[in-house]
């Protein structure tokens, strides 16, 4: 007996098992957003506490602070996680609101590159402060 029409999927059993749907992607993005969010929970809390400790500090104190390996490593991790998580989030915003395909494509590339450039600038600054003279 043939299954009822409503329950007869147009998709092959293999397609259903893989379960990616017509978009073919998205699960990785979803996971990456969550994992980077989890990483940012302790990093953001540490950063806020560290910044409160630096209120009113002059440059010498800040430089001395970044010179320690702990803050330097955590700052680099914070920059990576922040710009990675931010790029994933901004990607969804652009995909949701920018209707024009060409503009959307362009904005996605510019946004990604900008996130990489800013992250690189920040990491370079931390390394220079931490390792430099």
């Amino acid at each position: 007996m043939a299954p009822p029409l409503m329950r007869s999927p147009m998709r092959s059993p293999l397609g259903r098992a893989i379960g990616l749907g017509s978009a073919k992607e998205g699960v990785e993005h979803w996971w990456a957003q969550r994992v980077s969010a989890l990483a940012l929970v302790p990093l953001a809390l540490w950063f806020v506490i560290a910044i409160i400790g630096l209120v009113g500090a002059d440059r010498a104190l800040v430089v001395d602070w970044v010179r320690h390996p702990g803050p330097a490593i955590l700052l680099v991790l914070l920059l990576i996680a922040t710009f990675y998580h931010g790029a994933l989030g901004l990607q969804v915003v652009i995909e949701d609101y920018v209707d024009n395909k060409t503009l959307r494509f362009g904005l996605l590339i510019v946004m990604r590159l900008a996130a990489i450039v800013f992250a690189a600038r920040g990491i370079f600054a931390v390394l220079k402060l931490s390792l430099g003279a």
Binding site: R34, A37, L38, L40, V41, A44, L45, V48, I51, I52, G53, V55, G56, R59, V62, V63, V66, L75, L79, T82, F83, G86, G89, L90, V93, F118, A119, R121, G122, F124, A125, V126, K128, L129, G132
Partner: protein, 130 residues
Amino acid sequence: MNSDPRPLSPHLQVYRWQLTSVMSILHRASGMALAAGAILLVWWLGAASDGPEAYAGVQGFLGSWVGRVLLFGWSLALFYHLCNGLRHLVWDTGRGLELRSVYASGWAVVAGTVALTLIAWIAGISHWTR
């Protein structure tokens, strides 16, 4: 073309505001604000590594009224996105999705955001005037 008198999808101007939808919108808005704030962080670190003059420039901006308002807004956005992000992560495990829990956790996020922002600024100001 539209001869069917069925109601259309919600017109935003007559749509009653709800905690749930406002918080959802704010999560995205605070995320975008934090992306801009991340650039401020890079500017600050870059200036610190460039030398005393560049650093004085950033400090001058952050110490101005505009700078302080931005910092306050950024801290508010950070704590909101952090608290509401944790709410989302709990939802992702399939928990807390009943309407009552959604509202309870929503108000908890609002309270947590206000509390954390106040604690951070009180701690910062008391550290500064120490």
